[in-house]
Symmetry: C2
Subunit: 327 residues, 2 copies
């Protein structure tokens, strides 16, 4: 079997997740981790995989079938995805929902000219959750969508707490409100305000001499991040934080509640419970990397999203196999 040769650009939590996801796929091999740092300073987990300078990609690395872009959505991917889509089949996990149309257009332009395939926003939200919103809408056109996130760590909210004066470290969990979930499951089609859908739980390590009450007040009143939520703040030692909150779990729920044409109720619920957010995002990216490679081999080009990919393209198995075993 000819294996799909994967390159990874960016070696943070997500890059590591992708690296390990590849190790679960018999038809893939990791040919390099590319970094903008000094390659000698980066140690990867897979024996024999070279760490290579990102500059090699500009020169043209001809041993890569798919480049998995593992940068952040704020500043990395808006620059990197169009840049590398010019030369490579790429997948990314761009997750700034509001900017997806703009990102798609920029990537599509370059990939179409370059004759490459670029699948953007592959992860779980956007990604698997989006797929479930789409399927739900199509098979239950008369209905209402609900997405809940958590219980899980929000990196953005944790960072926002860490930027407060007097905070040494912090972790923030987003938690769906069980009563709201139950109301949706009941078929009541409730209208839910922000505060009714999620609560926020913060675990905070103070710097020495910091004023706990002042920090707590700053957290719970922070606009956009916390002011619209019921937020609880727990102060703990760094040891406790490291011991009890080291993981990056996440997950959530996508529900579609409506009626079928004959007027009967129907409820569709999809949920994820993930021990590792970057681990699962890595797994999803790698499955879509396979699809990207196939489309590229077929001679297709341009930007795609998870909506444009026939599910069979994600699998290493033949159509015959899938029909016999999974249909």
């Amino acid at each position: 079997m000819e294996r799909i040769r994967i390159g990874i650009l960016g070696y943070g939590n997500l890059g590591r997740g992708v690296e390990l996801a590849i190790s679960q796929q018999a038809d893939m091999e990791l040919v390099g981790v590319f970094t903008r740092r000094d390659p000698a300073s980066v140690k990867v987990q897979t024996e024999g995989v070279p760490v290579r300078p990102a500059s090699e990609l500009d020169e043209g690395a001809d041993d890569i079938d798919v480049l998995v872009l593992c940068g952040g959505s704020a500043t990395d991917l808006p620059e990197q995805t169009p840049r590398y889509a010019a030369k490579y089949t790429v997948v990314d996990s761009f997750d700034t929902h509001a900017n997806i149309p703009e990102h798609f257009a920029a990537v599509d332009k370059v990939a179409t000219i370059g004759g490459t395939i670029a699948i953007i926003s592959c992860g779980w939200d956007p990604g698997m959750f989006s797929l479930n919103r789409l399927y739900g809408t199509c098979v239950l056109p008369q209905g209402t969508d609900y997405t809940f996130w958590g219980r899980g760590v929000s990196q953005g909210h944790s960072d926002a707490i860490r930027r407060i004066d007097g905070v040494a470290d912090a972790k923030q969990y987003t938690i769906p409100v069980e009563a709201a979930l139950e109301a949706v499951r009941s078929g009541a089609n409730p209208e839910l305000a922000t505060r009714q859908k999620h609560t926020r739980e913060c675990w905070v390590v103070l710097e020495e001499g910091a004023d706990a009450a002042a920090v707590e007040e700053q957290i719970v009143t922070m606009p956009n991040y916390f002011a619209d939520y019921d937020t609880t703040v727990h102060f703990v030692s760094q040891e406790e934080l490291d011991r009890d909150h080291a993981g990056i779990p996440h997950g959530g729920f996508v529900l579609r509640s409506g009626e079928t044409g004959d007027g009967n109720p129907a409820l569709i619920e999809y949920s994820l419970k993930l021990g590792s957010n970057p681990g699962f995002t890595g797994n999803v990216l790698v499955a879509f990397a396979r699809a990207a490679h196939r489309l590229s081999v077929e001679g297709q080009s341009g930007a795609r999203t998870v909506f444009d990919i026939a599910p069979a393209y994600l699998s290493s198995h033949s159509g015959d196999y899938l029909r016999e075993h999974l249909l």
Copy 2:
């Protein structure tokens, strides 16, 4: 907007479900219900829709974009889908899992020669559940699949009870065992015997003078249908059956439990809770009818399953719209 012109062949519960599902879709119109019965004897629910003899289809009805085949999987569809795929773009809900490869091959041959598109096995299992088994396997290659059905009415099991001497009428519910579901959700990856996954609940109306104990014994020991399950039998009057068990609800769960590449646990759960089994199957068929029409307009031909259809093809919305609103 040019509407997609749909024909329905077969007017039982599923045909009625499809008819009403079309009424939820602004871009579709029902141009005829085709029947092998005397058309004058069939009354449809949509005003202005003609009931037409099935023989018209053999002559060639040129006002149909997609023909939705609503016959049964045992004898109707193995004959009908290849027959009508020769001339029409068709979708069916063929659901005899073991015979799908054979059905696919027969339909593919005819559709390829005829230059038509035929999407087979569109419903919820096979259908939406299959999609979730496939996505789950692809994004969690190291893991275990579980499918549970119910709580819902099994038509096949209800029929099996009705064939017993002394039984006037019956309804059978398939019920997932909550403890088994919880074991799967816990990440324990249990091996579950048939008896551990589902129980069966029977509501039976006896003919006058029938021996209840003998009927119960025949039910609970019936090979394949009941012998491998914990089965409870309740005897009720016809009035009670009609009052309390008139609906055809169904649903179930598809779970994928495994670990991501980084060794962390991950659980994916998809569930359906349906007031009407044929109503939801109809809704799904109609969404895939749209996809079939699109593929046909593109000039594609041959058999397809839900695995081969890019999700965006199910929607009446543009790619731009979907990326902005659902991704």
